[in-house]
Symmetry: C2
DNA sequence: ATTATTGTATTAAGCGCTTAATACAATAAT
DNA sequence: ATTATTGTATTAAGCGCTTAATACAATAAT
């Protein structure tokens, strides 16, 4: 899962989202040390300030913490990551159900379309 | 389905998205006349220029057309709306599958969570 | 001991988005 | 005939986002 940024939303918001995914999926394991701000910025092809902004927000939410001159680390709190994972999943599903329902699909159809597309991916 | 705007994305982009939903779901039926730019802007609490911007984009994509001093109308092309509906549905499902897979859920779990939340909504 | 690397902070510039204030021609409504 | 309403266009201002260029203290690496 590499960085994927579009111009239709603020970059720092996309960085937060993708960083959360990386943390929850174990790309950056529990308690592990992240690459430096500058390195991460280089990876994502953004300005260090922009990456810093995203990481600061993730500290506010508790997923990361930084040690002044040593580096930045993923939280040790296994449960917090688990909860974040659940939160993202719930939000994503909610959004899907809302949008699909607005479009006029009933739950039968939604499940059926999802099943089809999931099968398609399996191949 | 009323207007719901957040500050984490450009307003005009959200207007396009929600306008598409309104068209596809029949809030504004095939070939019907829309409220005026000014009226729509008032409804959504945005500047007329911003609403105009969104509507112009929807004209580019063909979902709307305008008659200079008479007003703006939904396309007569039933098939185009159907295709738009499909496109939105596909995109939304793709995004869900991608994100959930990144999070480490397998297809079994995705379907099960979706089922649960769908049932929850039914109540 | 010296050097390199941390996270962090600041300033200035450019850009797109949004709003506000107008204006205009065409035509629908009266 | 007059008035109100269309979509459309323009200009200026303010704001947030992003980048670039620096700088600094603390400390890890050498």
């Amino acid at each position: 899962m590499s960085w994927n940024l579009t111009s239709d939303r603020p970059i720092y918001a996309q960085l937060i989202e993708q960083m959360e995914l990386k943390i929850c999926s174990g790309v950056y394991p529990l308690g592990s040390k992240l690459p430096s701000v500058r390195e991460l910025a280089r990876e994502a092809s953004v300005n260090p300030n922009t990456m810093q902004r995203a990481l600061s927000k993730l500290e506010e939410s508790g997923l990361l913490y930084s040690v002044r001159t040593s580096g930045r680390f993923v939280t040790e709190d296994k449960n917090m990551i688990k909860e974040t994972k659940k939160r993202i999943a719930r939000e994503q599903i909610q959004e899907l159900l809302k949008k699909m329902t607005d479009l006029g699909f009933d739950q039968q159809e939604i499940l059926s379309m999802l099943n089809d597309m999931a099968k398609e991916l399996k191949k």
